[in-house]
Symmetry: C2
Subunit: 226 residues, 2 copies
């Protein structure tokens, strides 16, 4: 939406005592122009800090400072620290779900083993690739959510897990996957999710190496790929 007043570009100049603001309704203008960017920046900043320090150990002042704001400003974008955490998780979960759905669409008609490889690769990318703070926060900080928030996230998580079930079931039927499907899903996702704790992009194996190892570990060589 075009702004009616040509406000000067947001700069990092130190606020002076007599900074001149456009007349009229600068608040609305600023909000419409900046809200999306600032909100997204807050989300990314909060995700990074929540991941590295944990939710309870991260202060809203930490987040504000890292985003270049003053201490009270995050509350202009989010009602509470809790709401910020929830937004991080929701955003991460929606993005992860969308990526996996795309992956499966691209592998439609392929054998189950190839589909599982795709799911595993995308899961590792979501956890460990670029912009990968959101899902780890969701995985390791959900304790801090209230009941309603947890229920809303649980719906997204169920959708995510449901993507895996037909693939695992097919592999179980073919004999390539030997554990019961339900427990196999929990154990496999656990093995992948734990990589957040030890993966180091600077020295460990690549994400493809990881995916190959996981596939080799979980599915027997007995089932031909096609």
């Amino acid at each position: 939406m075009p702004a009616s007043t040509a406000a000067p570009p947001k700069s990092l100049t130190a606020p002076s005592a007599h900074a001149v603001r456009p007349r009229g309704r600068p608040r609305k203008t600023l909000q419409e122009r900046d809200d999306g960017n600032r909100r997204a920046a807050l989300l990314a900043t909060a995700a990074a800090l929540f991941r590295s320090q944990g939710f309870a150990a991260t202060t809203t002042r930490d987040i504000a400072a890292a985003a270049g704001m003053q201490s009270g400003s995050p509350f202009y974008h989010f009602k509470s620290k809790d709401a910020l955490l929830f937004a991080v998780m929701q955003e991460g979960m929606r993005a992860a779900l969308a990526r996996q759905q795309t992956t499966l669409q691209q592998l439609a008609g392929q054998p189950p083993l190839a589909q599982l490889r795709g799911l595993v690769q995308t899961h590792f990318a979501v956890l460990l690739g670029p912009d990968s703070d959101f899902i780890p926060v969701m995985l390791y900080e959900s304790r801090a959510l209230n009941v309603a928030q947890r229920a809303e996230l649980a719906a997204l998580q169920s959708q995510y897990e449901a993507l895996w079930v037909p693939v695992l079931a097919a592999l179980h039927t073919s004999g390539a996957l030997r554990a019961p499907v339900g427990l196999a899903r929990l154990l496999i996702l656990g093995a992948l999710n734990w990589s957040v704790q030890w993966f180091d992009p600077h020295k460990a194996a690549s994400l493809d190496d990881l995916s190959d190892a996981a596939l080799a570990l979980f599915v027997g060589p007995g089932a031909p790929a096609s």
Copy 2:
């Protein structure tokens, strides 16, 4: 804080003044001499709260109240909240290490698959069985440790992981374990450790069911058990 003002000034004059406060606490005097019990109770209480709420979200007042103490009393036993966390982790790690060493001693000479089964069963018992708050705290709260504490725990963790390596290496050589040993160890322990997040003793499978599923998932049926 309620206004408890107008307290009589501390005896500025005669040390022989009557004690303002009535003497005698018949309930506790003897028991609380037992430092070992109270310290152990604090550890168990702290472990349970750290597990369920997280370290940063648990106050020393929470712990004191759950242990039947006043708010300042935990600091009689532990120098800081941080030291209490570290003691929980160290205690848990030592106990886990001792249990796994016993397990392997009892399975000495048995085939690698039987040894892996023992390691997995004991690991699940340590994570999910009775008195199983210590290791989950170590797994999920180590962020809060300082560098020295982390280094000391890392030594114990290395010992623990080293118990698995020969067993996994033997299974890899025999072909039962198809992933590289190093990544297999990380993925397997991740799958087990994640069970803390979903295992429910009241409705899910038993610990033995879990162990069987994990074994079936990780090691191929190709290698005979003996």
